[in-house]
């Protein structure tokens, strides 16, 4: 029977050995488990509650568990330092081999930077944006802490095999990133749960033109439209990216001709305007022109959605010869030390600082929020993951989501503008 990528993934990993079809419940073998800050205290408490009196008795494979201290790095309080200390003890006790302990950055970006995710693998993480590894053809998805407890013990987990939705992207990649505009457009037009519990398969003539950075943005945001997986196929760009980072063998996923899709959505980017999500939901989307003139206090680029080289490069390129508007706080946070160094070597950081932007240590801080809180009545436009009420402090603040180009334009203007008006020659 012809299979989607998700069906093929879960067939390969199905413990029963049976072919997996959309709707089936299966128990699957896990290739990799990404744990970040939930790794210790809640895990230990859960172990005690479940009756393991000495905590988690083992991990199923110490080489396949990846622990990265991202949300709390560097720590902002002693309480968090104590939590990290507990994680260090647990990692040592359980013999976990891959531990990124003293490096700021977003776990998801580091998983990709260090080649810990390969095409065709089934990788889980206890963070919703784990789905982003679909950008390199990995079947990756967020799971819960209690699910992770089970995975750590057995290397197995239950899944419902998802239906698949094909998202066909057509058109020409402009000279600036538009991945954020694309996913906002999709959420605005098809609903912020159009892929609820489903597997997205991105395809179409635009895909070969998309950078790995743009694919990461699109896959990461799969969760903002409800997706279990958000998969790209593998092409030359994928193999180049992966093979530069790991020598582990892998077996990519591709759908069969004639596989069944529950839905197909098409988007031609040539006709797509710049998009923004207005407060307070991801699906509350309009073309940027309808939000024009909204005064802003803060602008941000960062997170696992938009903290990558191309997001920061476009900001630096557009800021050349311009200044951030007086009174606007423009926070830019590279997704990892790798990305930071890449930006630094390309001369971007100097340009950003000269223009009046602030560069923030890599990590989840600007999105989570740990850095850059908002006061009552303040407005922030941000290329990060979410705009929920109160996400950056005051519930009376307003958060707009947009791509890095639109954010940069707003930072210069002091209000939301169409980037085409701000930057000539786009």
């Amino acid at each position: 029977m012809a299979q989607t990528m998700a069906e093929k993934l879960l067939t390969r990993h199905n413990l029963s050995g049976n072919p997996a079809r959309a709707g089936d419940f299966v128990e699957a073998k896990i290739d990799g488990a990404m744990c970040h800050y939930h790794a210790a205290e809640p895990m230990h408490d859960m172990a005690l509650e479940a009756g393991f009196k000495d905590g988690l008795p083992r991990v199923w494979d110490p080489a396949r568990v990846y622990v990265l201290l991202d949300h709390h790095q560097p720590t902002l309080s002693q309480k968090l330092a104590d939590e990290n200390a507990l994680i260090r003890r647990e990692v040592a006790r359980l013999g976990i081999q891959c531990f990124h302990d003293s490096e700021p950055g977003i776990a998801h970006q580091m998983m990709l930077d260090y080649g810990l995710v390969r095409p065709g693998e089934l990788v889980v993480g206890n963070d919703s944006h784990t789905v982003g590894y679909g950008s390199v053809n990995a079947g990756a998805t967020g799971i819960t802490r209690a699910d992770m407890f089970y995975v750590l013990l057995y290397g197995e987990l239950w899944f419902q095999v998802p239906e698949s939705v094909r998202v066909v992207l057509e058109g020409r990649q402009p000279s600036y990133p538009i991945a954020k505009d694309m996913i906002l457009y999709l959420a605005g037009n098809h609903g912020d749960d159009f892929a609820q519990g489903m597997s997205i398969e991105y395809s179409g003539s635009l895909v070969p033109q998309l950078s790995i950075d743009s694919r990461m943005c699109l896959s990461t945001h799969g969760v903002e439209v409800g997706a279990k997986f958000a998969l790209f196929g593998s092409d030359e760009a994928t193999h180049r990216f992966v093979k530069a980072r790991t020598d582990q063998p892998y077996e990519p996923l591709a759908p069969d001709a004639g596989a069944h899709y529950a839905n197909e959505i098409r988007l031609n980017v040539d006709e797509m305007p710049f998009m923004v999500a207005k407060p307070h939901q991801f699906g509350n989307v309009t073309p940027v022109d309808e939000a024009r003139g909204t005064r802003i206090n803060q602008a941000q680029i960062g997170s696992c959605a938009n903290g990558r080289f191309e997001d920061i490069e476009i900001a630096a390129r557009m800021l050349e010869g311009k200044k951030v508007a007086k009174g606007v706080r423009f926070l830019i946070s590279p997704a990892s030390q790798h990305v930071y160094l890449q930006c630094l070597k390309a001369g971007l950081i100097e340009k950003l600082i000269e223009a009046g932007a602030q560069v923030i240590t890599p990590g989840c801080g600007v999105c989570q929020p740990r850095v850059g809180f908002l006061s009552d009545g303040e407005v922030c436009i941000t290329a990060t993951t979410r705009n929920f009420k109160g996400r950056k402090g005051s519930p009376k603040a307003e958060i707009y989501l947009a791509g890095p180009l639109t954010v940069t334009a707003a930072a210069v203007a002091g209000e939301i503008v169409n980037p085409k008006e701000m930057f000539r020659g786009l």
Binding site: G51, P57, S128, G142, R145, A146, W158, D193, Q196, G197
Partner: protein, 171 residues
């Protein structure tokens, strides 16, 4: 502690809209302790909720309940919510609820049969949700046996423990 899916649940309804996010349910980064969370859960949508919710109440929501970050809704159980019934549930919130044995039920159409403050009945054995006063009802989706077992055990860590003990006994 296991959750008995076969017990009929009846309670007063708190009704919420679509795409209620986990930042609203569990804003742990602002209120890190359970005591604080209990004072603030759901307040961005219903400021009176934390003070007025009573043990045994039922939370009814629209589609995509619990979207956003992967965070468990344990605080809702702590304030006394006896069941969550939604048009649809974001997948991580659903997984979170199953894996901690928090009673959650998907029942498309539920928002159309009940108003805030009315009494709702969740009858899992009969696979139906009823408005007690009006008699209106919609079907609820049953879980597969594997998930029913997780509820019975009291959650996935407890399920894991039972498996572990079984395997140790065989050694």
């Amino acid at each position: 502690m296991g959750f008995d899916l076969n017990r009929v649940i009846r309670g007063r309804v708190w009704k919420f809209g679509d795409s209620i996010e986990t930042d609203a349910i569990n804003p742990y980064y602002r209120y890190p302790t359970m005591d604080e969370l209990k004072q603030h859960t759901m307040e961005v949508y219903r400021p009176e909720f934390p003070a007025q919710v009573r043990p045994g109440d039922i939370l009814v929501a629209g589609r995509n309940f619990g979207c956003g970050s992967s965070r468990p809704g344990l605080v809702l159980r702590e304030v006394g919510i006896a069941a969550i019934v939604a048009e649809s549930v974001a997948r991580l919130f659903l997984r979170n609820s199953i894996s901690r044995a928090i009673p959650i039920f998907v029942a498309p159409g539920v928002a159309g049969i009940v108003e805030d403050g009315e009494t709702l009945e969740v009858d899992y054995p009969e696979a139906v949700i009823r408005n007690v006063a009006s008699g209106a009802s919609v079907p609820l989706r049953k879980f597969p046996p594997m998930i029913e077992q997780i509820f019975e055990c009291g959650g996935l860590p407890e399920f894991a423990r039972e498996r572990y003990l079984r395997e140790q006994a065989l050694k």
